[in-house]
């Protein structure tokens, strides 16, 4: 790390709300001594704890780490992992890495796109389902692969994928 930019006295930047989760975000920044280079680490914490990074969060992090606003926005939109809007209740990530592509991932994606009318990166209007595309989940031996709410499933067919999503709908319907 660069020689700590002399710890200037600085006014404490207050979080956007009294939501307790901001403490987790502050802890990350404190651990890194509020250095500007902690930006990505901090954004990871925001994304993890809140599920997305909104304007208030960006403003807060920018001020606390003394990073220009436009730079924060530039970083958030550069990296695919960060999202500006909340994700749907359920998330389906289809791997579009080479091995999965060769073994039929495009057909899986197409089946979901057709059935639910969303493209990768989009969420259904009712906020129930988000569809994401990934670049290799590192399980190419089991291609094609998709992740349903954190659960990785290999050797998938389009029918299996639709069935899995329908199961969510049924479970939630009850």
């Amino acid at each position: 790390m660069p020689a700590a930019a002399a710890t200037l006295e600085r006014p404490r930047v207050t979080p956007p709300s009294d939501d307790k989760r901001w403490r987790i975000v502050e802890a990350t920044m404190r651990r890194h001594g509020y250095q500007p280079h902690a930006l990505i680490e901090t954004l990871h914490t925001v994304q993890e704890t809140f599920g997305y990074i909104d304007e208030d969060a960006m403003r807060f992090v920018a001020q606390a780490l003394r990073v220009p606003l436009s730079q924060v926005y530039g970083v958030v939109t550069f990296y695919h992992f960060f999202t500006l809007k909340p994700q749907g209740e359920h998330i389906c990530v289809v791997c579009l890495g080479t091995a999965c592509y060769i073994k039929g991932a495009p057909q899986i994606l197409e089946a979901i796109e057709r059935t639910y009318g969303i493209k990768p990166g989009e969420t259904t209007k009712d906020g129930k389902l988000s569809l994401l595309a990934a670049r290799c989940l590192g399980a190419c031996g089991l291609a094609p692969v998709a992740v349903f709410d954190g659960q990785v499933v290999g050797k998938l067919t389009p029918e299996d994928a639709l069935k899995q999503i329908r199961r969510w709908e049924e479970d939630d319907g009850r």
Binding site: I40, E41, G97, T98, I102, C136, A139, G141, L142, A143
Partner: protein, 549 residues
């Protein structure tokens, strides 16, 4: 901890292990976990307990056994039996098999060429030690290389040994590792850094992930030796966020190494201090490029910058920085332990040692393999990989991911080394190896990679930002049956520009998949343009069936 205490710990662990009559090693790397290996492990533990064999039989989670497509995989020691596709219900039978005969229907024949043709250096502990216990690693000789370096060798002797080994970077470009180390060692800087590149962006490759999940300590040991050699005090491992298990195991490993004073201040009572921090990527392929990676560690947009200056002179925060790939570091401990000459005996004239590949696509055995350099592609695809399933015909093997190319059948007897692969228009790359058969359309494959590069381009330089977008559009037109021979000319001209004029490796290699398919499968392009047909039947060209034969 002192060197003596560490040696005693190793002995104690070895004895503890020997007290068991046998060990059941259940693969708990990502592939097998996806197939339910954690439940299998629990079931086996229960079955062992049910029979009161806890004192005799050790059940442990281990790293990848290689045949990831047939998981969950189990390896029984000392019998050397490998089971595949095990379910929790099989647990009692497997435990019974320890005293009577093994479970025939689950056995993977051990003389399968898949296992026999491999050669394990980097993966030597994968499948036999518990990656979450530092004691396991120490028991099999772990950290001995670090001790040797710190107590018996000067930094320049370490570099000398690495140079002698002929090791070349496994991140793709194959730059001689010893040379890189000596440049960083010579550079002046108030501080220096060592970075491990674990961004593994090739979309079809998972070697680095598996090494980190299966044997994380060997990477830490390699980094510490490197830091000693070049004079660095701090290290970073940049891992992609898509690899949660690797991140978790690395975190555990770093904590354990710190506890035993194998990382931290005055390591093993010497004057050498070195600490390691993790940085998690956030989903950008270009961050695998070294200058972009450093920008990302600095908290910025991951855009590359022109080199020179190279990281060895002007790296992280402007200080001299050594950056190597995961597999490169993983090769270091055995090189220091056994000597550079030992390593240099393996492989070919200019490519030494082994290479780990992620074999995937249209082959019978998909999984992770480690082979000596110089093995032929045919041996990999047809012996180790078991050939093409469903009696289909081999068409090409893709190496090097989006920076590489497709190698056709006539080169199957090519030895796998840096120079040969480059000569036929592909590259060694980081180790992705995707087999394609007659059901793959090569124009579509080229389009797939160009689409990847287009969406991963950082956008900084014009040839890559706009060039890849036009390459994609041209390929889209061709695969949709709207292309003309004029488009093909433009495509080739544009490939030349993007390759020659782009700022970083992403743009400079983005045309490779197009150029290599144009070179060997030009007839497929022409079929799309002139006959409006897709020979493999992949591309949706509307009038395909109406075309007279």
């Amino acid at each position: 901890m002192t060197v003596d205490e560490l040696q005693q710990l190793a002995l104690k662990e070895q004895e503890a292990k020997q007290r068991y009559r046998c060990r059941i090693n259940v693969c708990v790397a990502t592939g097998c976990i996806m197939c339910g290996s954690e439940r299998v492990k629990e079931a086996i533990e229960e079955a062992v307990k049910a029979r009161g064999l806890e004192k005799e039989v050790l059940v442990q989670g281990v790293g990848c056994l290689g045949l990831c497509s047939a998981g969950p995989m189990i390896y029984v020691e000392p019998d050397g039996i490998i089971y595949h596709k095990v379910t929790p219900e099989d647990a009692p039978a497997i435990v019974q098999g320890l005293v009577s005969t093994p479970v025939e229907r689950l056995i993977c024949p051990p003389d399968l060429p898949f296992f026999k043709r491999q050669m394990k250096i980097v993966m030597e502990n994968s499948g036999t030690i518990d990656p979450e216990r530092i004691e396991d690693y120490i028991a099999v000789g772990g950290y001995q290389a670090l001790i040797k370096a710190l107590t018996e060798m000067s930094p320049s002797e370490v570099i000398e040994e690495v140079t002698k080994s002929g090791l070349r970077g496994r991140g793709g470009a194959g730059y001689p590792t010893g040379l890189k180390w000596s440049t960083v060692a010579k550079a002046n800087g108030a501080r220096k850094f060592v970075i491990c590149n674990a961004d593994e962006g090739d979309p079809g490759a998972y070697m680095d992930r598996t090494i980190l999940e299966s044997d994380p300590h060997r990477v830490l040991e390699g980094m510490a030796i490197a830091a000693y050699a070049v004079g660095a005090q701090q290290g970073f491992i940049y891992v992609r966020a898509e690899y949660p298990l690797a991140i978790k195991r690395l975190r555990t490993a770093i904590r354990q190494a710190e506890r035993l004073n194998l990382l931290g201040n005055n390591i093993l009572g010497t004057t050498f201090s070195f600490s390691v921090e993790l940085r998690i990527g956030a989903g950008a392929f270009v961050c695998g490029e070294e200058t972009a990676l450093m920008a990302s560690i600095e908290g910025k947009r991951g855009t590359p910058r022109p080199r020179p200056p190279y990281p060895a002179e002007y790296g992280l925060w402007g200080y001299p920085t050594l950056i190597n790939n995961v597999e490169t570091f993983a090769n270091i401990p055995p090189i220091i332990r056994n000597g550079g000459e030992w390593f240099a005996k393996i492989g070919t004239e200019r490519s030494k040692g082994t290479k780990v590949f992620a074999l995937a696509g249209r082959v019978v055995n998909t999984g992770l393999i480690e082979v000596p350099m110089g093995i032929t592609l045919r041996e990999i695809v047809f012996d180790i990989g078991g050939g093409i399933p469903e009696g289909k015909r081999f068409k090409a093997v893709q190496t090097g991911g989006p920076s590489g190319g497709c190698i056709p059948e006539q080169f199957l007897d090519l030895p796998v080394d840096y120079e040969s692969l480059t000569k036929v228009g592909s590259i060694m790359g980081s180790g992705g190896m995707i087999v394609m058969d007659e059901t793959s359309c090569m124009v579509d494959v080229a389009k797939f990679f160009v689409e990847f590069c287009m969406s991963e381009s950082c956008g900084k330089c014009v040839p890559c930002r706009v060039g890849t977008a036009h390459l994609y559009e041209l390929l889209r037109r061709i695969t949709a049956g709207e292309g003309t021979m004029r488009d093909l000319e433009l495509l080739e001209e544009l490939c030349d520009l993007v390759k020659s004029a782009s700022l970083c490796g992403l743009g400079q290699t983005a045309p490779n998949p197009v150029l290599s398919t144009l070179r060997y499968f030009r007839h497929e392009y022409e079929a799309h343009i002139l006959d409006k047909t897709c020979p493999a039947g992949v591309c949706a060209i509307r009038r395909a069936e109406e075309v007279p034969a």
